[in-house]
Amino acid sequence: MIRIDHIKKRFRKLQALDDVTASFSKGQVISLIGPNGSGKTTLIKTILGMVRPDSGKIYFDGKPINGDFEYRRNIGFMPQMGRYPDNMKVGQLFRMMKSIRAKDDTEIDNDLVIKLNLQTIYDKPMRTLSGGTRQKVSAALAFLFNPEVLILDEPTAGLDPLSSEILKAKIITEKNKNKLILITSHILSDLDELTSHIMYLQDGKMQFLKDLQTLQDETGEIKIGKAIASIMKHEKSNGRPVEDILVMKREKYH
């Protein structure tokens, strides 16, 4: 479905993506994990064509994306921070999106709109919404057109527990419909029930892309958080894990 081929991207001093090669196919839920500034969002933006790579190519359904935009018809994207025109009303935003993507009403997936109770705020201007509510709007928009690929950047950050559960349930439903879902998140416990593959990025380099089963077998841990931590302990080449630094600090003060 999506093939990333030796992508490199540099922002002045920062090597945001360093020779990343990966391949994602239908039915997978890929969790992009890595410390802040490891290149997760850049990778997502490159797939969406917002960031142009310095070298390398991205293939969507076998076709290279190169400045065209039609392939994005098959992608639903939920940004990390949704900000919308201040005076636009929620209902108008949905109407606008529908007119841009021009799909029949039968193909529209209103599931999240209903479950997150967004119709009740259709008349409210965007500027009056709280951060969490805007996040809900973003989520509903990403799923609205029933796309084959869903790209969710920090989907559960800022959502209340109830909405977060609704969103997770929706992600699982879509996964079962054989869709490709890409998630970045720092809340690893959220990913436990969703993910099928883990992609770990650090300093722009891809450390590994493994399915959950292999990862659990290799590390002997069931929880993703612990599995990642145990891998980080074994690979000390790239910086020290947090625990080590804490130990060092403690030693220094005593």
Binding site: K45, L48, R52, Y71, R72, P85, D86, L93, I100
Partner: protein, 255 residues
């Protein structure tokens, strides 16, 4: 393209800025026309206000709008839409709403009190300046990294076009006053749309007789149809070139 502009326009018109700007222009022009007994005197005062206020507001409003819509543009880029279309919709909506304010705020009083060649020249120049400076603002804000730099650079541009450029021209004229400079000043004025607009309007007024030999040369040129056509072309270039440059860098830009 109009699908997107419709919603952006709605958003802009719901904000208070456009209404405030329209009202401000309306109050100024109405009071000028009512205070001065002679409408051509009022036009002269209005001219100076229009040439300073219109570029400033167009620059600032377009820049602020661009930065405030940044995340929205980001979201639009994740949709099946071309970048050119997105930027043109933004530019179209912003310049249309500014144009609307100008035509209501200045256009209506001018049509009521001074419906003649000067009035028409004023409306043409004001509209052209609106389009030109919002296109310059889009180019400057796409090129600058953050909001502070963007607003800073458009303010500098405004200073340059309204004050610094005139100073430079005066210096040149002073230094080379022994030579015939009529053709040169004509060329130099084309390099600043505000100057070009000012000359274009002044020459429709009767005061050009006071400007001596240069004034006569100008009058000869701008009153002819070639002159009007020349002016129109330069104004279109001033709006088109920055917009084209903005589009070119927006298409390549990493959002």
């Amino acid at each position: 393209m109009f699908k997107l502009s419709r919603y952006i326009l709605y958003d802009i018109f719901r904000g208070k800025v456009v209404a405030g700007y329209t009202l401000f222009l309306l109050i100024i022009s109405m009071s000028l026309f009512n205070m001065e007994e002679n409408s051509s005197k009022a036009m002269l005062s209005l001219l100076n206000i229009v040439l300073i206020i219109i570029p400033l507001i167009s620059l600032i409003f377009s820049t602020v709008h661009y930065y405030n819509s940044y995340e929205f543009i980001e979201l639009m880029l994740s949709q099946p839409m071309s970048r050119t279309k997105i930027l043109l919709s933004e530019y179209g909506s912003v310049s249309f709403s500014l144009l609307f304010s100008f035509l209501i705020g200045v256009g209506v009083p001018v049509l009521i009190y001074s419906f003649d060649a000067t009035g028409m020249a004023m409306l043409f120049t004001g509209s052209a300046l609106t389009m030109i400076f919002s296109s310059i603002a889009f180019f400057a804000s796409i090129k600058s990294k953050d909001k502070a730099r963007g607003i800073g650079s458009v303010l500098l541009l405004w200073f340059y076009f309204t004050l610094i450029y005139d100073g430079l021209i005066l210096m040149i004229l002073f230094a080379f006053s022994d030579y015939p400079l009529e053709k040169l000043t004509l060329l130099l004025s084309s390099l600043n749309p505000i100057d070009l607009g000012r000359i274009f309007i002044m020459l429709q007024m009767d005061i050009s007789a006071l400007m001596g030999y240069t004034g006569a040369v100008y009058k000869d040129f701008f009153a002819s149809s070639t002159g009007i056509f020349y002016c129109l072309t330069i104004m279109i270039l001033w709006a088109g070139v920055p917009l084209w440059l903005a589009l070119r860098s927006f298409v390549k830009k990493d959002i």
